[in-house]
Amino acid sequence: MHSAVVRVQNVFGFFTTVAFCVAGVIALSSFINPQFPSASVKLRNVQVVRGRPHYYSYKKEEYAHIKFDLDTDLSTLFNWNTKQVFLYLKAVYPSSKPGQPPSEAIIWDAILPSSSAPKHQNHYIHPNPKKPQSKSKKSKSKNQENIDSPYPRGELHLNNHRPKYQITDISGKLQNRTDVVLELGWNVQPWVGALTWQNKVDFGVWNALKGGVSAKFDFPEIGAKKKAEDLGTEKGKEGHRLEAGGEQPIRKRPS
């Protein structure tokens, strides 16, 4: 410590030790913050269509398009050490081969920032049910001010929401699969410390996720009629074309 250079080294050396210890304590402090997340996921509509992975592909694959309802209260995931929460909804279905683990595919995801996170273009913007979607300049400047969700942080209420991704299977075959569920998952990304995923069992003061799994459903056949509720809708006259040579209009049978 007799010369200035030695003192600089000494202070900096101890600073790194202190910084590491404080970071460690901060990381541990996340675990004493109680959290009790809850969520409800419901299937609204599922369709399977045939398509190509890209325009020049010769391979045809089957894609599932899943609409869903999602209501969550994840506000307790946001403690002082949370930077953002990556939230995702995945479809889980048994593998076509027995003995293989079930397949999972993400159909929708969102990045929920905490209040301490700086603004970023990829942050999730919750659709606002009250405000009509208008593209005028006036409303755009207004949107900049309250770009935040109409609900408190971590609370989502999505109604009949479209998926972000259409999913397919590695085999390319997706129709008539049974026992599909939608499952909510997340990844909490802290400022300091370990990443944590959704917990299915209680862990200390962290309660397991309540709900978050939809009822079982099946992927329908390609071109199958939609769910019963859709059958009641009014159809245009083009739905009643006469078969050539026939006398009765063709009516597709509800499956």
């Binding site: 000494n10 202190v18 910084a19 901060i26 002082w80």
Partner: protein, 102 residues
């Protein structure tokens, strides 16, 4: 003249302090940095805002650098006296290659 100037510059850069000063500097480093870390965590946790922790921690570190690195006068209060010239204490004679040195 140039030598003298160089000597002054070297003294200023090296910033040497005495032995008691070194003990004190060590103590100040430990106490200030440790306190900054603890205060930073507590304030941040109370306010539930990690930015407080960051800035208090960095501020405390800057303060510690300021307090410890420059050779402040209070690190130089107990200068170690030099031994008096050899000739004054004894008539010890040291031979180096036949030459009388001491």
């Amino acid at each position: 003249m140039a030598d003298q100037l160089l000597e002054q510059v070297r003294d200023a850069v090296e910033g040497q302090i005495d032995f008691e000063g070194q003990r004190l500097a060590e103590l100040v480093t430990t106490v200030l940095l440790g306190a900054a870390g603890i205060v930073a965590f507590l304030v941040g946790y109370m306010a539930q805002d990690i930015k407080f922790t960051l800035y208090i921690g960095l501020g405390g570190t800057a303060l510690t650098f300021l307090a410890v690195v420059p050779p402040w006068p209070f690190y130089k209060k107990n200068p170690e006296p030099w031994l008096p010239p050899h000739a004054a204490i004894s008539g010890v004679s040291i031979d180096v290659d036949g030459k009388k040195v001491g």
